[in-house]
Symmetry: D2
Subunit: 241 residues, 4 copies
Amino acid sequence: MVLQKTAVVVGIGPGAGSSIARRFAHEGYKVALVSRREESLQPVAKEIESLGGQALSVPADTGDAASVRQAFQTIVAKLGAPEVLVYNAGPGMKWPPPGILDLDPAVFSHAFDAGVTGALVWAQQALPAMVEAGRGTILFTGATAGMRGGPKFALLACPKFALRALSQSIAREFQPQGIHVAHIIIDGIIEAPRTKGMVPDRDQSSFMSPDAIAETYWQLHKQDKSAWTQEMDLRPFVEKF
Amino acid sequence: MVLQKTAVVVGIGPGAGSSIARRFAHEGYKVALVSRREESLQPVAKEIESLGGQALSVPADTGDAASVRQAFQTIVAKLGAPEVLVYNAGPGMKWPPPGILDLDPAVFSHAFDAGVTGALVWAQQALPAMVEAGRGTILFTGATAGMRGGPKFALLACPKFALRALSQSIAREFQPQGIHVAHIIIDGIIEAPRTKGMVPDRDQSSFMSPDAIAETYWQLHKQDKSAWTQEMDLRPFVEKF
Amino acid sequence: MVLQKTAVVVGIGPGAGSSIARRFAHEGYKVALVSRREESLQPVAKEIESLGGQALSVPADTGDAASVRQAFQTIVAKLGAPEVLVYNAGPGMKWPPPGILDLDPAVFSHAFDAGVTGALVWAQQALPAMVEAGRGTILFTGATAGMRGGPKFALLACPKFALRALSQSIAREFQPQGIHVAHIIIDGIIEAPRTKGMVPDRDQSSFMSPDAIAETYWQLHKQDKSAWTQEMDLRPFVEKF
Amino acid sequence: MVLQKTAVVVGIGPGAGSSIARRFAHEGYKVALVSRREESLQPVAKEIESLGGQALSVPADTGDAASVRQAFQTIVAKLGAPEVLVYNAGPGMKWPPPGILDLDPAVFSHAFDAGVTGALVWAQQALPAMVEAGRGTILFTGATAGMRGGPKFALLACPKFALRALSQSIAREFQPQGIHVAHIIIDGIIEAPRTKGMVPDRDQSSFMSPDAIAETYWQLHKQDKSAWTQEMDLRPFVEKF
């Protein structure tokens, strides 16, 4: 299977997903936009098309392996085997975050399905053609919570730690085969109407620009294979860390 | 609910579980032995009783919240609310470990249930009485794979990373309430008939003594609250790391 | 050279040094007490002797290799080759800590000599007899600042990061030869008249007991070689981290 | 003092320094080339000038604060206050690397002066004008040895750990003032005649391209302040890690 100039972005919604899709479209990539909610996809697809790009809306439930496999087949049929996979879907966040005693085990378990098993299945779909081609890029969106388990943050931290492990495992198995695998730790709040509402008193200059994040994803994809990044952080200049 | 001199050890089988149970029994603790397989429990319970200790075999499926809750009620009814919880159950390991493309998503998903969600549910059962008493100890058995995602180790690494996150989240929420939470990174192969068979050519002196591991668990429980360990590693002297 | 039941504790003053020395003396070890200031040593030596122990005061400047070598010869001559070396000397702390622009390069450079090169030279003295014996223990006192470089903490963080690197390098070279090397991260303020004065408003229950710290050092020394700890943290239960 | 479009690259020799200098010159930056050995500087300066760029050779001993201060004054006088500082000087490496017992304390101590104190002094020179301008970039070249202290690697690991601490301390103090501070972990061998000779049997495709490294330094400098990287790794695709 020949790789096409196609990028799959899983997780379009508040956050950096749509900016990442636009950034790759701007470079001539056909982009597949994946989200559980179709209503998140249409405006992004329209915007990309209005800029002269090619976008495909693919509603899929990342927590369900069959749904992922079907979505991938659709993508391959319409846009070809992707050269780039961006896994930007989260495990699902609750606000305010629940403490340990208020955490529903079923919700916790599902967070692994959506946040980690989904990432595995997407990678399993994309990897064979990448291995055959000896190239390709897989980028995982991580979070501060993937580095540090804070109080009341188990629901986010546990899947994000696991996603980081998955990223390392895939990198160590497939980088020698020419496939670049990176984990980007987003340490800050991405600018979006929803996030601004969550922390209304926050200094507006402290939000992260989704376009700035997207620029780094693009640069990671462009890195020469003699000097690949496996992990990096991104945070606004004012952020304490 | 008044805490009793009771220790629950989840995960009795090859590994350090039975040694940990014996160590606490030796100090006068009533011990609840938990495993999915009842046949793993009986010999350990008998040995503890033959040494004058009190042991309760509690078969339970740690990957099933209802089973965990029922097991905990049995423990409380027979041995009282535990002062100590040791989560020593693994996510289930396959040998040889599968590469990313051979990893069944259902198996992967279940590894989170058994290796992480189970730990959450056990902690949720044990914590309320500990919080009420303002003391208690929860010890999680981690692994090298919880620190580093190796090639072909995603099935172990992802849940173990997540378990580490859970341990940190519980520690940060409950240590200020007097409950000691620690994560012990086992970086080596524990001596047991099964593990010796897995790596037959390995120098026999390089296996970890389960009793030596158990000693460290006991010392962690005894630490003064002014100087608690949240994380430590354990490895045989010959181990490369 | 035959190892004696001798422990060298470098860094006696405010902090855990004197408690560590007492703990080993209590177990029958002859203890060499090392500090730049002789007046820090006498009260500790007297106390140990009054409890029936044997203590040797050895004033030495840990930042000066010749002084360390001479001190070590004195120790060997009077107490024999030590089985245990505890490097508990700090790089020298200023309060309040200077920002980057106020940090005198000569002070910074000297902090490496006292905090890291001194540790190397002490280890170089103690290791040959340990290697010959195939056993021995070297314990390094680390700090939170050895894991994270905070604003205005470069003077402490840089040497403490380097000390951690030294501990790992020595462990990886000498553990296979039977010598246990551990790094203990002290994440909190140790109870002492001086430290209480530095943070007068702090909740008094949040200080770390030096005796509790010493107990962990002793337990590390006693660990079975099949299950050695290379790194662990210690912090008071109320500490945020 | 007004910042000029000037970049200072400390550490020109085998490695990525000259490529980094060329990359910034290519973007119109005046570049100051700093090395202890003047003979390393001339060919790089000539090449940059032949491509239409402006380069200044500044011989200086980074392990000597007075030499650094004088070099900085020369740079400011001739090229203006720099907007970019790249600290690419190493602590000095010996090959083969000495074990702990063969490590000369004076050499070890000097490695901190050249590898860390020098970095502090360079940052102290560059920061005031950056603070005044509310912008600027400081990039530190780190190494795998800055993350992990290997056997026989103490001479490299200890200063590199400390440099990482310095990078974090400066970032946490100055990023809120608009100055971007990043630490790049080079995990591999950079292509150069000298390094190829050190490991003659190594697969030639496994060397890192210095130009590829330089590209990432440039992209770091260009990052939007709402999404800055503090730390990232770079390694060749074939590298085990």
